[in-house]
Symmetry: C2
Subunit: 339 residues, 2 copies
């Protein structure tokens, strides 16, 4: 079987997770090239071999087949062209290329075919969008979703390791009656909710919110679908929750039938037994691969409406796992050939 030389760029929260997930994936790896832009020298274990984390330098992508990037938008804009020049295929986790019409934006369970004609670069969608669209895809196919109103309850891990530490430090300081230091977010995140993720745009929405609007249209290949989002950060370490309200064009069946549809959809797991107080919870979700759906109930305020609660590991399905799943898709379909 053909094996691939795989580089992972960025050893933050997402990059580290990528290596962990890649290790257990179906991607045959001849050699791992772990890269950072600063603080090199760390040794990581991967499938029984040790690799030293190196700094990105000229020629580093020579002979590399696949690059998984989790180093932010600026690094992606600089490094993706270099990697492509060397013939590598890049899967980038940043928002830099997501809306580029020449770059496929892929969730393997939702729009795998979009990856087929890549030109050496595929974008990984925003975490909030991915976990929203995995369970909405089967409903969109069957009932055509017209409009989504979504409120997010996002964990700090999406911001990175320093945010996880900030939430822990602030919580500790508060409980011990010490002064709270604010560094990562514009305001205290411990015991608070921030209705502010990424920068504000002229229309009053944040960039995070507009990602959910625009990426949904691109991934569903549906310019008509409407998304009205509010993105908020909550004092949760990992795993995003979302309250999702949808309105469909075609009549929705009974809730039991909707549960059946979702239960058989790829990447979706239904946890919905409210009498036993079972619904998806952020604290139970770390380290899992599925998107969890619960609190399914008709929205009686429109003809065809549905409310649901959706939780997923934002570092995994929302970032690292989805990127590795794209890599598996490329390998299995034979779409990873060097061009």
């Amino acid at each position: 079987m053909k094996e691939y030389k795989v580089a992972v760029v960025g050893m933050g929260a997402v990059g580290t997770e990528m290596v962990k997930i890649l290790e257990k994936s179906r991607v045959p790896v001849s050699e791992l090239v772990p890269l950072v832009r600063s603080r090199d020298g760390k040794v990581i274990e991967f499938r029984g071999k040790s690799y030293v984390v190196k700094k990105v330098s000229p020629g580093v992508f020579q002979g590399v087949d696949l690059v998984l990037m989790a180093a932010g938008g600026e690094a992606a804009q600089q490094l993706a062209p270099l990697a492509r020049q060397e013939g590598a295929v890049v899967i980038d986790n940043s928002s830099a290329f997501r809306m580029d019409p020449e770059v496929p934006l892929v969730i393997p369970e939702v729009n795998p075919e979009a990856a087929r004609n890549h030109r050496g670069l595929i974008a990984n969608p925003n975490c909030s969008t991915t976990q929203m669209l995995v369970p909405l895809k089967p409903l969109h196919d069957l009932f055509k979703i017209k409009r989504i109103v979504v409120s997010t309850y996002q964990a700090v891990s999406g911001t990175g390791r320093e945010a996880i530490e900030e939430l822990q430090n602030q919580s500790k300081a508060y409980l011990e009656g010490q002064e709270i230091e604010v560094n990562v977010y514009p305001h205290q995140i411990a015991f608070n909710v921030l209705p502010h993720i990424d920068v504000f745009l002229d229309n009053g929405y944040t960039k995070e919110e507009m990602k959910m609007v625009n990426e949904t249209r691109k991934i569903f290949e549906d310019d008509q679908i409407l998304v009205s989002p509010t993105a908020a950060r909550v004092p949760v370490l990992n795993c995003h929750s979302e309250a999702i309200n949808i309105e469909t064009e075609r009549a929705l069946p009974e809730i039991e039938e909707i549960k059946n549809i979702l239960a058989t959809a790829p990447g979706v797991k239904v946890i919905d037994d409210v009498q036993d107080k079972l619904y998806p919870l952020a604290v139970n979700c770390s380290g899992t691969d599925d998107v969890f759906v619960g609190r399914l109930r008709k929205d009686f305020t429109v003809s065809n409406g549905l409310n649901m609660w959706v939780v997923a590991d934002n570092l995994r399905k929302g970032a690292a796992l989805n990127a590795v799943q794209i890599a598996e898709l490329l390998v299995e379909k034979g779409w990873l050939e060097r061009k």
Copy 2:
């Protein structure tokens, strides 16, 4: 000036707040009667006098003009009739009587006239409903709200003191690597989000969610207004946040004009300067009286849509303050006469 003998029933989180707010209110109090159903004996200071907290006992409401109740629904159902028999007017914070057609459900800034013809009992609305309707009232009057989609981010203080302690204890245990004890909520609340407040009903919604549906209709005196709610508990000590989406019948003006309308509405304060990262925050809201509104932005997915972020102190405007404001309204309008 006429003075009133005022009883406060319940010395939990809300009852204690009621006494504090009553002390600074415009209600002339000749004598305070602080009551509990267990653990009496505590001495509280009120306007320079000391009062011993007593157990509720037969005849305790004799000569009492006004009773502020914050002892839960069961206690209210038992005690309100006794107090009314003695000629007192009862303002009850529980949900026991809210949907009773003979009992006014009052937010003084929203529907003060509803209090006029009370029969000795007035209900205080649910915290989530109150903070939603105070800013929506001027918009409903001008543009007629047809539909509301709301997601709540509710603090633990609404559950009571034991929930505040549980969040603190669980947070501490987590940070120290200790086992987390779960007593108050069905699941861990520290570093988590629970899409579950109050009990589940047959239609898949919780009682908390249906309060927002039904109380909105009663308070706005509008059987047509539609509310599609998701109520979630977040690890915040005090102050609820809400992501509110509305759709109006009449065209909405520009955002600046909407801000002006809200800024002049009673009980509303606009905090909305996103370029300076200013928006309402739960941690800044404890101890305040207003309902804070920000993140105002058009919802472009419907003809006349608006998104906003609303925060208020759920123990104060959501409970104790609103009850005392009802008392002030009764005093000032002369509606507190013994019947």
